[in-house]
């Protein structure tokens, strides 16, 4: 039995539902816990929460990204980077303070090549596969993103990069049950075992790693 965790959820005021509401619905769906990751521009508006939180850094340049990583590393449990731009993807994979690179495929190309994949393995940066485009995008865009993600999955499998599957939810209507996320992950050519690891062991190990680091620091 796996403890499923979703680490790519955007709660109020960025998303439409509060963390408590999302947590309640996620527990009903079969998740053991969720981590609300807030995009960096909304970080100051986010109320204090007893549930674990993280930040998703939104940066337009590599310099800005590095600055924001330095700021958020000490304040946030999980530091993920909003991917898409190839330079940002590469800079995120180069930095061992980053935990997850979210949706690297949301640019012109798939966003990952063999160099980036090797850097991600070396610096223990997990790659985040957001599957929300299945229910948010139209046919053409969906097939484009599916093709990019399949290519990225191939590279991750070849070089052994850690992978996280998330729903990237902005409301409770974007949340999907773990078995549904696994079914979508199979369309990306993940095996059942790999999908289980991406939904449970990898996010839990990231949370554990950051929790332990904080304890060592104090």
């Amino acid at each position: 039995m796996y403890n499923y965790v979703d680490i790519g959820i955007h709660a109020f005021p960025e998303g439409a539902d509060t963390v408590k509401r999302l947590n309640y619905v996620a527990n009903q769906l079969g998740f053991s816990q969720i981590v609300a990751t807030i995009h960096s521009p909304y970080w100051s508006q986010f109320p204090d929460s007893s549930l674990s939180t993280g930040v998703e850094i939104l940066a337009s340049t590599v310099r800005e990204l590095r600055k924001q990583i330095a700021v958020f590393r000490d304040t946030s449990t999980i530091v993920s980077v909003h991917g898409g731009d190839e330079r940002i993807n590469r800079a995120a994979c180069k930095d061992d303070r980053v935990d997850v690179l979210m949706h690297p495929e949301r640019g012109k190309h798939s966003g990952i090549n063999q160099v980036t994949a090797k850097l991600a393995v070396k610096n223990e940066v997990a790659l985040g596969f957001c599957v929300d485009y299945f229910w948010k995008k139209e046919e053409r865009e969906r097939s484009r993103l599916l093709a990019f993600q399949r290519r990225n999955v191939y590279l991750c499998q070849k070089f052994g990069a850690s992978v996280v599957v998330t729903s990237n939810a902005y409301s409770y209507l974007d949340l999907r049950a773990p078995r549904q996320l696994k079914a979508l992950a199979r369309l990306l050519h993940f095996s059942d075992r790999e999908a289980d690891i991406a939904l449970s062991e990898t996010p839990l190990s990231i949370m554990k790693k950051r929790g332990l680091k904080k304890e060592v620091g104090t």
Binding site: T18, F134, L173
Partner: protein
């Protein structure tokens, strides 16, 4: 025509699902949405192998029949439904069973919480009008629509403990 012997018949699985929605939908609409999404994801050839059919739907819960080898694809189809007639929805699978009777007994006989219409002005966590309550879940129509537009929904969703005045 002589019926097929039991060993030659197709083996089906019945997937029970629950529909979360903003505005209620009927069985025809959900059936059309499933067929449309299935064709969009897997194409006509793929769908022909699934033996896909909505067996029953009561407004919140339902059963979908499919070929026993393609349950995973059907779960993906149900997960890919996000909007029906500009109405945000979420189709969650509850479980899979080999017979209709077992699926109904196991998954469809639990009672759903009743959704009540309310009208109360709130200011925490957002200014707006609380319009619906379902158990501990409350939906608010906010005055500032930026957040709901970003999330492409109609309501801000809170729990009753998020607003102490409503307890």
């Amino acid at each position: 025509m002589k019926p097929l012997s039991p060993t030659l018949r197709d083996n089906y699985r019945y997937v029970a699902f629950r529909l979360s929605f903003e505005d209620p939908l009927n069985a025809y609409e959900i059936e059309t949405a499933i067929a449309k999404t299935a064709r969009s994801l897997f194409g006509d050839v793929g769908v022909s192998e699934f033996s896909l059919r909505v067996v029953t739907f009561d407004g919140t819960k339902g059963l979908v029949r499919c070929d026993y080898r393609h349950v995973s694809e059907v779960l993906a189809i149900l997960a890919s439904i996000g909007k029906i007639r500009n109405n945000r929805v979420c189709v969650t699978t509850i479980g899979t069973s080999g017979t209709i009777q077992a699926a109904i007994e196991k998954y469809l006989q639990t009672e759903e919480k009743i959704r009540r219409i309310i009208s109360s002005y709130v200011t925490v966590p957002v200014s707006g009008k609380a319009v619906r309550i379902c158990g501990k879940e409350i939906d608010i129509v906010p005055e500032d629509r930026k957040t709901v537009d970003r999330a492409d929904v109609q309501f801000i969703g809170i729990m009753i403990d998020d607003n102490e005045r409503l307890i």
